[in-house]
């Protein structure tokens, strides 16, 4: 189901968490709310779920205005940042909870739960307690629990935030594939731009309670609307006063070329395929360039070396 948020504002005391926010999420889309902490992204998600009440504005799910519908009857699947497991219940009973509340027949519940545990790859752990699961397993249990009642939309608050790097990468990939399989409209909150770029079809960039820009990952990367989006999505060199350069746009020239700007290599950092070259320009400004391993080898880059670089036209935003 499509989700539409219209002119929503929310205050906590003097703090403005959301200021006249509008977003639209298409039916079946996988959307990321991306922003630094305190940008209002979690508050927006909780308002869509009905866990917070907006001071002003409307929330629409499908064709129904749900602003005054309590969370209980809003038919929304919500996965909490710390998974909110029911610790005194087994994995099976956790996943079955929503169905038990709806008083479905026992046989149906058993069948549906085992189907879901298969979907999230927790077969065989049905009789475990949450305290016996790893972070990644808890995460998947929470997801199965939310999906059990076939919600109209699925909302995830920092779904990968509390996991270690390897599990996180695995789960991202898996969430993407899961979404392709079940196609429920999904919004997840994250502060990690890489995660948003990798998983989401659409990204909504938030900052200080407002929407900075919404669009596909590629759109945001290639044509950021402002300084904030530019520096939040993808790596940047800040050349003073609203002027930015992407590090991979900087070209390091072979010493024989005899053109470009002079620069001193201060440091070469090998990050696998990518090599990060920290440079000091002739006018004293520090920038860094991103090159491939091959070109770094070809150019025989070394610390202390002086060479020439070609800088592209920087992107300048109106202040």
């Amino acid at each position: 189901m499509a989700i539409e948020v219209r002119n929503v504002s929310k205050h906590f005391g003097d703090f403005v968490a959301l200021d006249d926010v509008c977003i639209r999420v298409n039916d079946g889309a996988l959307t990321a709310l991306l922003g630094p902490s305190g940008s209002g992204k979690s508050t927006l998600l909780r308002i869509i779920a009905g866990l917070e009440t907006p001071d002003a504005g409307e929330v629409e799910i499908g064709d129904e205005i749900v602003t005054d519908t309590p969370a209980r009857t809003r038919d929304v699947g919500f996965v909490f940042q710390h998974y909110a497991p029911f610790k005194h219940m087994t994995v099976h009973d956790n996943v079955a909870f929503g169905l038990t509340v709806r008083k479905r027949p026992k046989a149906e519940i058993r069948e549906r739960v085992s189907e879901l545990l298969g979907l999230v790859r927790l077969e065989g752990l049905a009789e475990r307690y949450p305290s016996q699961l790893s972070g990644g397993q808890l995460q998947r249990m929470a997801l199965a629990r939310a999906l059990a009642v076939q919600p109209r939309v699925l909302l995830l608050d920092e779904p990968f935030g509390a996991l270690d790097a390897q599990v996180r990468a695995e789960l991202r990939e898996w969430l993407r594939r899961l979404h392709e399989e079940i196609h429920v409209t999904t919004i997840f909150v994250t502060h990690d731009q890489e995660e948003a770029m990798e998983v989401a079809e659409q990204i909504v960039v938030m900052n200080r309670g407002t929407i900075e820009q919404a669009g596909s990952p590629r759109e945001l990367y290639e044509s950021p609307r402002n300084e904030f989006v530019m520096s939040f999505i993808g790596p940047v060199n800040h050349l003073g006063e609203a002027t930015f350069l992407r590090p991979h746009d900087i070209q390091i020239l072979p010493s024989s070329a005899g053109e470009g700007t002079e620069a001193l290599i201060e440091r070469v950092v090998h990050l696998g395929f990518e090599v990060r070259v920290e440079l000091k320009l002739g006018d004293g400004r520090d920038i860094w360039a991103q090159v491939t391993r091959e070109s770094a080898q070809e150019l025989e880059l070394q610390e202390g070396q002086i060479l020439a670089v070609r800088l592209p036209e920087p992107r300048v935003f109106a202040a």
Binding site: L51, A71, R72, F80, H88, R102, S131
Partner: protein, 268 residues
């Protein structure tokens, strides 16, 4: 380091021994000094038996009352947001601060013959003071804070995530409380109930004032112990004191067993 740890342990154990273990052990010793027969006679005396059952009756009413009230109040204090919450929280602790004798006197002032509700109550044939209802009231007041104080911190630590998760899954307030909140806080509640029971069993001051201490009628076990002692019936006093101590001990052991059995599995 090990010396100071050792010293601290000795100090703590010595303190306990002097204040608690020695006097209680002494009571047991003096009770059975002349064998079991006089003790049996003393505890099966009609007034002693009556006092025993009266104590049980009062505990059986006051403890469930305070459990329900305590859990409700803890929920209100931890989950509610309203003006005057801090004041209410302080009010709950008042029975700890006021002397039980004062509590008893206050109850007499309100429910006694010349008290605010005295005329109305007596007009409707209800006698509160010098009777069981008053003693239940007095017991309930002095043991009021335990369940609240044991439950509230557990509720706070639990947080609201699981409750909100239950809400998004379609559970209403009562169902969420019964299936999610209560199981998560039950050990706090159980501990509060144990303390309430122990306190209610042992209450002397407030009950003494409101009961009138009528032998065979409004004498609870602690009052009976005191009465026997005053009448120089030392064996009767000691024997009943032992019964009282065993009751309290039984409560602690029962709860301990109950807790251990289910707690291990969940490893919260």
């Amino acid at each position: 380091m090990s010396f100071s740890k050792h010293g601290l342990r000795t100090l703590a154990l010595g303190y306990l021994a002097l204040l608690l273990v020695a006097p209680v052990a002494m009571i047991f010793y003096r009770t059975f000094e002349h064998g079991i027969a006089p003790v049996w006679d003393a505890v099966t005396a009609p007034n002693a038996v009556h006092a025993f059952w009266l104590s049980i009756e009062i505990v059986a009413i006051a403890v469930p009352l305070n459990t329900a009230f305590g859990v409700g109040m803890a929920l209100l204090l931890e989950r509610g947001s309203f003006r005057g919450k801090a004041l209410l929280s302080t009010l709950v602790d008042l029975p700890f601060a006021i002397s039980p004798v004062v509590v008893g006197l206050a109850l007499v002032l309100v429910y006694g013959k010349t008290g605010w509700f005295g005329d109305w109550l007596i007009g409707h044939g209800i006698q509160v003071i010098f009777s069981v209802p008053g003693m239940v009231l007095a017991t309930a007041v002095v043991s009021l804070p335990f369940v609240v104080r044991e439950t509230a911190p557990v509720l706070r630590e639990l947080g609201t995530d699981a409750e909100q998760a239950a809400a998004t899954l379609g559970a209403g307030a009562w169902l969420t409380f019964r299936r999610i909140t209560l199981p998560a806080i039950r050990w706090g509640v159980v501990y509060g109930v144990v303390l309430t029971t122990a306190r209610a069993l042992g209450e002397f001051g407030a009950v003494s004032v409101v009961s009138g201490r009528i032998e065979g009628q409004t004498q609870t076990l602690p009052l009976y112990v005191q009465g026997q002692f005053e009448n120089f019936n030392i064996t009767g006093a000691y024997a009943s004191a032992v019964v009282l101590a065993l009751l309290a001990l039984a409560t602690l052991v029962a709860m301990n067993l109950l807790t251990r059995r289910t707690r291990k599995r969940e490893a919260i």
